[in-house]
Point group: C2
Chain length 341, copies 2
């Protein structure tokens, strides 16, 4: 397998990308192609032990930064790693692309300029796998589409269900809609309309789902939402987890006895930090474009990049997600009324 | 001060209401009026030490339960504690009303049947005070309006700013809009339009705010959102906090050494639990109706009811919030263009 990595994406680029690529190449035996400023990438790569690994560098001097306006940069910076990387997917030179850079930039490049949408897909969406206490939940959309139509949410549900089945091996994924209450009358105009439409499909729909039912009770395998509220959900998750660790630290500093206890419990707290860290998930899949594109967090470290490559990009390629979404969407392309027959 | 409490609201009613009322009456010297089934309330009250306290019971045999459809129950169950309590505010027989019952029911009764909207208020909204690390943030709307217009969000900002100034004594409250990124181009159609409108007022607007900026960085004193995403935010907050404690417990059980450390650190963890518990905030104010109405969590215990009475209801009456909102809204009643001059 050949996986292309944007070397200039993360906040601390290109160090996390280079180390993450080396780790991923060693663990998988895959070829990793780093796209970025060779003058920065190659010295770092030279410091790593790359014997027997397949790592290539493709130079480009143009980048889309976090400050760039996504659509504008996608149109004008044609030699960015995002353009070069996704173009390699389009032409069959590589199997997947990973970037920790400007999310909107990657979305715009892949959706509008290089890979484009899978026929029938209304809107590509960001799909994230949340893993907690031995349960996987696929969340979609976590930020690609802040204003959604109900029909799009139905497709997010469908694409996520395919992922849950093919990648996570869930036999009959339970699909829920994020809402402010379980009852049918809860939700907003969008979710109530989406619920009507999802009921007309053969998806295993369990209705409205509150955050605690997803986070604490494993009530669903797929949770669907617009990209605005989905983004609020995962960012609040990350912020509260961070807040808790800051409060624990403050308690440890406030009393010698509590500090001693927490020191003794440190391996447990470290394990907790791993379990709760959103970085461990390794990024989100841009579902619905003609290629495997993974968007990783700007704050990704080497482990985050490695996870994005192995846990997200590689898994999606192996499960042939693009073909599966193409088939799934084609099957539902008829109006839901007739598809339900 | 006379504060009316719905005795039949919480999941475990009327025990939390009765104990909470006794605690609040003792601490404040206020008169607390419990409205509910006297046959259930009076025996519980007889078990409490109420010497020197002013606690009254008003009997009603009709209730709006969690299973009732809010608007329908508000129309048909005219003798519910919500009707009787808010009617006492309307006629000047009491100063504030607290209920841990069906939120939609309380909203419908207060907004449509008894107190009604303050003139000029487009939509009443639920306002919650979040307290963390010596900083107060007013959140609005946390669930009354799942589909909002930009103009409503401007009023939510205004009402919350008034609360921040008058109740929390913040001199010049910083107002932010919950969004999926700080940059102006982030947000959804609703928040971008609301941002334009808020910029035309003299509110101290700081722009888009992500969950971490509010939860970890104290970047705002007021955070505004539609009731759907605001609800997702606070419910995710509560669920993650609960999840963390479950994970800590699992770590303690998995290893003797970690268990011993956490046992030693228990006072710190207990303090942490208090700091993070959403119950401690004591409920949300229904801002924009002609009276002080506080909605408390269905899972409230006696402490939750006491907090709702003292920290929310009492504080809003003392700050004369209803009159302040009336004046504030009247001042902005002219189109924002002319008001900004």
């Amino acid at each position: 397998m050949r996986i292309v990595v944007d070397a200039m994406g993360s906040d601390a680029h290109p160090a996390p990308e280079v180390s993450g690529a080396v780790m991923a190449a060693r663990e998988s035996g895959d070829t990793i192609v780093l796209v970025g400023d060779a003058a920065q990438v190659e010295p770092l790569l030279a410091q790593e032990d790359t014997r027997g690994l397949s790592i290539e560098v493709v130079h480009t001097g143009e980048f889309i930064s976090m400050d760039d306006h996504p659509a504008e940069a996608a149109r004008t910076k044609k030699n960015s790693p995002m353009h070069i990387g996704t173009e390699m997917l389009r032409t069959g030179q590589a199997d997947a692309f990973v970037s920790a850079g400007n999310t909107g930039g990657t979305l715009a490049v892949a959706t509008l300029h290089t890979l484009k949408r899978i026929p029938g897909v209304l809107r590509p969406a960001l799909m994230m796998v949340f893993y907690m206490r031995r349960h996987y939940t696929v969340l979609c959309d976590i930020g690609a589409n802040t204003d959604c139509k109900a029909e799009w949410l139905v497709q997010f549900a469908l694409m996520s269900q395919i992922y849950s089945k093919r990648v996570l091996k869930v036999a009959n994924p339970r699909v829920g809609l994020l809402a402010n209450g379980e009852e049918d009358i809860k939700g907003n105009d969008l979710t109530r309309r989406a619920a009507e439409l999802i009921c007309q499909t053969d998806l295993n729909f369990v209705g409205n789902v509150e955050p605690k039912e997803m986070l604490l009770m494993n009530k669903v395998d797929v949770m669907v939402h617009d990209g605005f509220s989905g983004n609020v959900l995962i960012k609040t998750y990350g912020a509260v987890a961070e807040l808790m660790f800051e409060l624990i630290k403050a308690e440890a500093e406030a009393s010698r006895r509590i500090g001693a206890g927490l020191l003794l419990a440190k391996p447990g707290l470290r394990s907790l930090k791993h379990q709760i860290d959103p970085m461990e998930f390794g990024g989100a899949l841009l579902a619905g474009v003609n290629g495997v594109v993974v968007v990783s967090h700007g704050r990704s470290n080497a482990l985050g990049i490695k996870s994005a490559i192995l846990r997200q990009a590689r898994a999606a390629v192996e499960a042939d997600m693009v073909a599966a979404i193409r088939e799934g969407v084609a099957q539902y392309a008829a109006p839901p009324e007739s598809a339900a027959v």
